[in-house]
Symmetry: C2
Subunit: 119 residues, 2 copies
């Protein structure tokens, strides 16, 4: 158990997605995220979901461990995704990397940009 | 007007704050953020607010232009703040920098880490 504050890993990726269905179906992203939270024992404390007129969507999932945010751009076959887990009670860095990989599989996406920030 | 997608600026800062009042008063952060959105002509499309038992808080503000997220750590006199504005209709990079500076003044904070990601 980490009892002092230690920086957590924040991954920021921009992804390219060929089939746009998952870029316009916010409910499927929410369902998948619920399964991710269960799989990795993360706790949701709030969520904000917005569908735009062109069916792109923006979702922020507030976690006890920090947040997951997504913005989709079906018109450009792209999305930006943030997964940030702080290390308050344990080192979650590996979870952050694995969760991003899970989302890449979910979207069947290729990586355009990939940044890792320890903060 | 930028009609093609161009990466936007995402600033991620970790700040140190001596007086913890603003790290435990989520309503004041929300009020200040509303004034920021008005000042910079940004449009909120959703918000998630969570106050923890120790009065630290996590807030995600979903914007038409992307998002603002904060996590406060009053027990460590710290917060992490994200300001990310995409460039869909105009170049918002300078706004991102100015908004982060506004928040630094609001919290009377000093910078621990400061990252700028174009994504």
């Amino acid at each position: 158990m980490i009892t002092n504050y230690s920086p957590g890993l924040h991954k920021l990726v921009t992804l390219e997605v060929q089939k746009i269905e998952k870029l316009i179906e916010s409910a499927k992203f929410v369902d998948y995220t619920e399964s991710i939270l269960e799989k990795y024992s993360l706790e949701k404390v709030g969520i904000s979901i917005h569908d735009f007129e062109n069916n792109s969507f923006t979702i922020a999932v507030c976690l006890k461990e920090s947040h997951i945010c997504i913005h989709t751009w079906p018109e450009f076959n792209q999305l930006t995704l943030d997964v940030y887990l702080c290390n308050y009670l344990q080192d979650n860095s590996q979870k952050v990397k694995t969760i991003v990989n899970d989302y890449i599989q979910f979207f069947n996406a290729s990586i355009i940009t990939d940044h890792e920030i320890y903060r």
